[in-house]
Symmetry: C2
Subunit: 269 residues, 2 copies
Amino acid sequence: MQKYSRNSRISAITKLLIENPNKIMSLNYFSEILNAAKSTISEDILVIREVLESLEMGRVETIAGATGGVRFIAAMGEKEEKAFKTGLCEMLRDRSRIVPGNFLYITDIMLDPTIVHRAGVVLASKFAKSKADYVITVETKGIPLAYEVARYLGVPLIVARKNSKVTEGTSVTINYVSGTTGRLQNMGLAKRTLKSSSKCLFIDDFLRAGGTVNGIADLLNEFDSELIGIGVLVDNKEVTKKLPTPYTSLVDYHGVNAEGEVIVEGSTN
Amino acid sequence: MQKYSRNSRISAITKLLIENPNKIMSLNYFSEILNAAKSTISEDILVIREVLESLEMGRVETIAGATGGVRFIAAMGEKEEKAFKTGLCEMLRDRSRIVPGNFLYITDIMLDPTIVHRAGVVLASKFAKSKADYVITVETKGIPLAYEVARYLGVPLIVARKNSKVTEGTSVTINYVSGTTGRLQNMGLAKRTLKSSSKCLFIDDFLRAGGTVNGIADLLNEFDSELIGIGVLVDNKEVTKKLPTPYTSLVDYHGVNAEGEVIVEGSTN
């Protein structure tokens, strides 16, 4: 079997760690793939840990014990995070984003992998210690971002549906008042989706008064489960919120002013 | 400014390449971040290219010229792809997946990042040379997979909506016959979603007779754009297809037999 140089092993281990965020990977696993002693792999990982830390590209943690190993925790440096938020604000200030009804068009942003990917790193890093079992969102626009956060936290995603589907079996459905439309809506989750006594993080594109969030909390209650955190891309600061748990956001939105300018700034929460 | 060892640079460059799939990254970019000469970076990249190729973990391509640089192309080795498909089939054979109406419950699979991530690599690698401008899907279940394919191809995602939304401005809507329900449905895309004359790949969870695919092709026509490829996780082999363009899938589904067994096998297309 082929032997690899330290350089080569470091490249391969970096790739495997980064592609399996928040998953504990045993030294044996790397040892087998790369045909090298565990002590050698250990030294390789030390190099990776140091450079990623020095460049603020995330953390490599060691977990001791029989089921131990190493895992990669995604994170973004403070300076890069600030620049990313500033860039987001610049995009959002484009007046052509204002659509009839004074809504802000952000679908393109929520579907652009280069943005969603980085937004996912930022939100996941805020919840790195949350011990969430699932990330939950409601269809449709927040799904890619929620998926990225779930991927970085190494947990499955759950999507509450606005119309229960024939292909999902028995569902639990609840009513809630949507902040966008002011109307009574319903959303549901297939019964088999969720283990009971789960801790869930809610991720979405836009946070307004919290109608949807409270709906999600109620829905999770029906599964004896709990909403433990909220993360969104844009926080609408124009409305007073009533939320069951604290939240974090990337951008604060203060509406459109008399000159027709979109007022946004990077969030500091 | 700090200097880094070759080992350290290789770890950092590997991470940056892998996190920006199919994006051309200039040597200058790495040179600045890592405070090293371009010739040194070039040698680092050679090591990365060789080990990733040797371990069948994807390709690093060099693009010559003024706008040149290197890019990472995601790919999975033949053996790993086969094992991944076999694992998928085992999951699908679980009889509790059969829900009333003889549908197969695959929502959990379509929302599990560890599976979607790898399925995304496989599908993206089949379309690596397609020069697609966008990946398109229709809400809801296929969104994470379509997002991953878009991310690996370095293009934006588009999601056709079954109900046009107030926050998206003017939409184009078309009618189509859904293969699942046999009913006339409609789906739409906001006018601002798509540049005209675009080439699009359709990615979804399940492919049946092709009603949805033909609807997508019609919708793209309205934007003077073209459907150039189709990729799905599960191909339902029970129905005759009428498709506007060839497709690729990961798993072939042959229905449920008289003993109530789910008949699936890895696709070979």
